[in-house]
Amino acid sequence: MLKKSHDVRIRQQKLFVVLFLVSIFFSFINLFSFLNTNIYPEYFLALMVLTVSSNLITISTTKVFLMGIIVDILIGSILGQYTITFLLLYGLQVFYQKYFLMPTSSQAILLKFLSICLGIITVTIISQNFNPTFPINESLLNYLIIEIAITFVILIIFQIFYEKTYGA
């Protein structure tokens, strides 16, 4: 793994804070509600996948747990929903890093995609059980596909910002 310089690390920490605030803002606003569609991109999930896969900040199980609780308080259907999802994503990432060292960029993207899928499926299962207003107008599969696609696009956008922290 590449060693990050002090400046890069500081820039990435700042980026994390900014992306966290952006995620809160857009989670509250839901841009897609203006189009009258039931699409809720998972900004926090995208941020978490980027954080654990790219070491945006120094991460540990305790930090992941605390972040999960904060997100649960902000937007969770039930306490523990995002906590368990983030922990599973973190576990998957650690497992992957242990067995698949030095992945190519396409492998890394595939892993991020799989992480998004796992995260969305976990959050959806929990929402379906505990959220009385879970949108079920269309088929669950369509819903999952759209959610995964949009969240992945958001992750790519976050990733672009992340890569810029090295550029300067």
Binding site: I24, F25, S27, F28, I29, N30, S33, N36, Y40, S60, T61, T62, V64, F65, G68, D72, I73, L74, I75, G76, S77, I78, L79, G80, Q81, Y82, T83, I84, L87, L88, Y90, G91, V94, Q97, K98, V123, T124, I126, S127, F130, N131, P132, T133, F134, P135, I136, N137
Partner: protein, 276 residues
Amino acid sequence: MAIKVSKKELSLFTTNFSFTYFILFVFLAVLMMFVDSRYEYLKQIRKDFSFITSPLIILTNDSINFFANFKSLSKSKALLEEEINQLNIQIDSLSIENQIRNFLVTENDNLRKITLLSKKYSPKKTYPAEIIRPTIRGRAQIITVNKGKKDGIRQGMPVVNRLGLVGQIYSTYDQTSEVVPLLSKKFAINALQDNGQNHAIIYGDAEFLVIPFFPASIDIAPGDTFVTSGLDKVYPSGINIGKVVKVSPEDKQFNKILLKPATFSSQFSLITILDY
């Protein structure tokens, strides 16, 4: 020469990741979900943390209002005059309707006195409020209104708009409140068919309102309307709930009735909270 590898380096996770801690935290998360689903602690925690979330809500709404105000600046004078004319016509027709209503209310009170029926209660006070952001929390659609405890809003108050019942106040914070909408699965209400004859309990069911067991012997058809009965003493009687869209036989004795709500929270940004 063979390299000696310590046992620790051969373990599954050689980073500073502790598998024991991981399992412990996963267990804690599951425990939190179990406890919250049973005791609804999250609602209380959100109330306690409202000093953090309130500025976020204000910030979100201010930025949206800024764009909305900017858009309204571009409205032409002619368009605004036209809108004022339309509103004046509406006010005239509403005041005529109100005169008739006042007469009917007095007549109803007198008849109730004569027939020794109990007094029909009307709301003590009404609070006009505006629906603000957030309209979602995660994947839950919520209705947040800009009136809270400080304005006298209490949990359980009915919420209406000019087309009918919107929902009920579910939780209150200092400056905002959340409304549980009609379509929420947590919602149930005592209703009366608008011909004044048949009572039923209507439940929210995500997409439609539903009466799961309605006696098959009673004639009911798509287009029939249900209003609040007032029997529950939570909602005033006569508020539009919804219209029947489908009657399907459940068994020989009962029909399942699906209703479309009279109003959706997304239709209007202004609502009225009733102190009943």
